[in-house]
């Protein structure tokens, strides 16, 4: 399940860009690999992130994984609903399970990410 309207990173984040604001989450592959997510550590609003910088982390019962910034910018919103119900990342990773929104410094950085087809191919390669 790889939505067609998103861009993807090698760390299994997705980003959806609208009017210079990118919404970031983790992919279905990532949520499945982590298992039941028990906690999402949200980045502070206002945090400046370079492309590839660590933004925050998600924890499952037996693992913790960092979430990186798919593109550089300033965090403008976080999904506070995840504080009470982190399982939404498992149940709706591309929708209600979004993690943070970032005001992009340079939207062209997103163009350099993988498109859905490339990400599907990347997943297929990782399985081998």
């Amino acid at each position: 399940m790889v939505p067609k309207d998103l861009s993807y990173t090698r760390e299994h984040e997705w980003i959806r860009v609208a009017e210079g604001i990118g919404t970031v989450g983790i992919t279905d592959h990532a949520q499945a690999a982590l298992g039941d997510i028990t906690f999402v550590e949200l980045p502070p609003v206002g945090q400046e992130l370079a492309q590839g910088a660590e933004a925050c982390a998600v924890e499952s019962a037996k693992a913790a994984a960092s979430i990186y910034a798919p593109a550089g910018g300033k965090v403008v919103a976080v999904n506070e609903a995840l504080e009470d119900d982190p399982g939404v990342v498992n149940s709706d990773c591309y929708g209600e399970g979004w993690i943070y929104k970032i005001e992009l410094d340079n939207p062209a950085e997103v163009d350099a990410l993988m498109d859905p087809a490339a990400y599907e191919e990347f997943l297929a390669q990782e399985e081998h």
């Binding site: 906690f39 982390a57 037996k62 913790a64």
Partner: protein, 444 residues
């Protein structure tokens, strides 16, 4: 029995496998000045010879002085029931459980310890313990840096000088802006701290009662540091919690301390016990292990290690700490000690310590030339005296009269070379105090 597990034949085989002629050649890259050039070890002893030698060495220690030494470690009475309980084989391990859920007794003991610490300092969550009080202060600092994502840390200098030295050692290469602020009149200097605290301040660290024994309500400091978005770390003496307002009621964000006074003897080098408690919202930033109570698949109560995603066996280099263990036996000792005392017992113990300190202060101030260093302050069981001569000389003279009179503050504060830090516990009798006062009268 050989202490090198492999034989010479195996060593030759291993050297041949990697294409090296000898062990010396294997270590050829190590500069010769760093290599150990033979150890001067005498021949072995029989068991009987070794026991005789060790007993003779142990006999050179002086024991049985009337002790007024404190400075963070206190000579409290340890009931015999404590040892009988903690040495039961179900409990008796120094180590944190690594296959935890099979060790339900150990986990429950840790859970009860955490609960006891929370009630003692009035905080919401505590961990399974840390090595000692100084490590706990350091870990609290690292925790505050993680929570605030800032880099400046301010320590009041009435925090134990031993703990401050440990913090300096631990943080020396971490690029932290670590600042010490001189206390004033025996308490943290509010004006100096107000000037120093900034939007870069991750935490301010104070101790209560502090190293001079002075009691403080640091609620105003909590407000001061919170106003700039930083945290207040308070180190405290658990026995004093029987009488004093706990740090949790003063707005502390992280509370730590040395737990030795909870049933452990004073001994050079420990083992000691660090404890750490915080607010629930910070639990994921707290280091160390945490035991939790839950139910199994059939609904029966059980205990587990919880929130382990903070720890290094899962989170690797991003773990909250490299500490993945706890002081198992010392934490058990502390919770057994607190259980034996009970809530009322702890309160009475604290009152007795404070009353003995009151009597000692009055009696010692009758000695000509002896005054209070911080006369306007309140104390729990420890206070600083000005003597008319160097405190270390007085201590040496009193030692020949079988008295360990206290701690010479000149060791850490050169301007306080005439200052003696005197601590009282329930073990010191009126006769002990009168004897100390009399001996001081003779010497001074």
């Amino acid at each position: 029995m050989p202490f090198i597990a492999n034989t010479e034949a195996q060593q030759r085989e291993m050297l041949a496998a990697i294409g090296v002629e000898s062990i010396e050649e294997l270590f050829a890259d190590i500069p010769p000045e760093l290599l150990c050039c033979g150890l001067d070890i005498p021949p072995g002893l029989t068991e009987q010879e070794a026991r005789t030698k060790m007993a003779a060495l142990a006999g050179r220690n002086t024991t049985g002085q009337i002790g007024f030494l404190g400075g963070g470690f206190y000579d409290h009475f340890i009931p015999a029931a404590l040892e009988a309980i903690v040495t039961r084989s179900e409990f008796y391990t120094a180590y944190t459980p690594y296959q935890p859920e099979i060790s339900q007794g150990t986990l429950q003991a840790i859970y009860e310890f955490q609960s006891a610490i929370c009630r003692l300092v009035d905080m919401e969550v505590a961990n399974a313990s840390i090595y000692d009080g100084g490590t706990a202060v350091y870990e609290a600092i690292m925790m505050a840096l993680r929570i605030t994502r800032r880099n400046q840390v301010i320590i009041d200098d009435s925090v134990s000088p031993i703990h401050r030295k440990m913090v300096r050692s631990y943080t020396g290469n971490l690029g932290i802006d670590l600042e010490e602020t001189a206390s004033r009149g025996g308490l943290p200097d509010r004006d100096a701290l107000a000037a120093q605290i900034s939007d870069a301040t991750a935490a301010v660290i104070v101790q209560n009662p502090n190293f001079f024994g002075c009691i403080d309500d640091v609620s105003d400091l909590a407000e001061m540091v919170h106003a700039r978005g930083g945290l207040l770390i308070v180190s405290c003496y658990p026995i004093a919690m029987g009488l004093l307002k706990p740090p949790g009621q003063m707005g502390a964000d992280i509370v730590v301390g040395e737990g030795q006074s909870l049933g452990m003897p004073v001994s050079f080098g420990g083992p000691y016990l660090g404890f750490m408690a915080t607010r629930k919202k910070h639990i994921r930033k707290m280091p160390g292990r945490i035991a939790g109570r839950t139910v199994d698949a059939r609904g029966r109560e059980g205990f587990v290690l919880t929130l382990q995603a903070r720890e290094q066996h899962i989170r690797r280099e991003k773990a909250t700490s490299n500490i993945c263990t706890n002081q198992g036996l010392c934490a058990l000792t502390a919770v057994v000690y607190l259980s034996l005392l009970g809530k009322q017992g702890l309160r009475e113990l604290a009152r007795v310590c404070a009353e003995k300190a009151d009597y000692a202060r009055e009696r010692l101030l009758q000695v000509p030339g002896v005054t209070m260093r911080f006369p306007k302050r309140w104390y729990f069981n420890e206070f600083v005296l000005n003597l008319p001569m160097a405190a270390d000389k007085v201590i040496r003279a009193l030692f020949t009269r079988n008295i360990a009179a206290g701690f010479p503050l000149g060791r850490y504060w050169p301007e306080m070379s005439n200052c003696l830090l005197v601590a009282l516990t329930e073990k010191r009798t009126k006769e002990d105090i009168d004897y100390l006062a009399h001996a001081l009268e003779v010497i001074l």
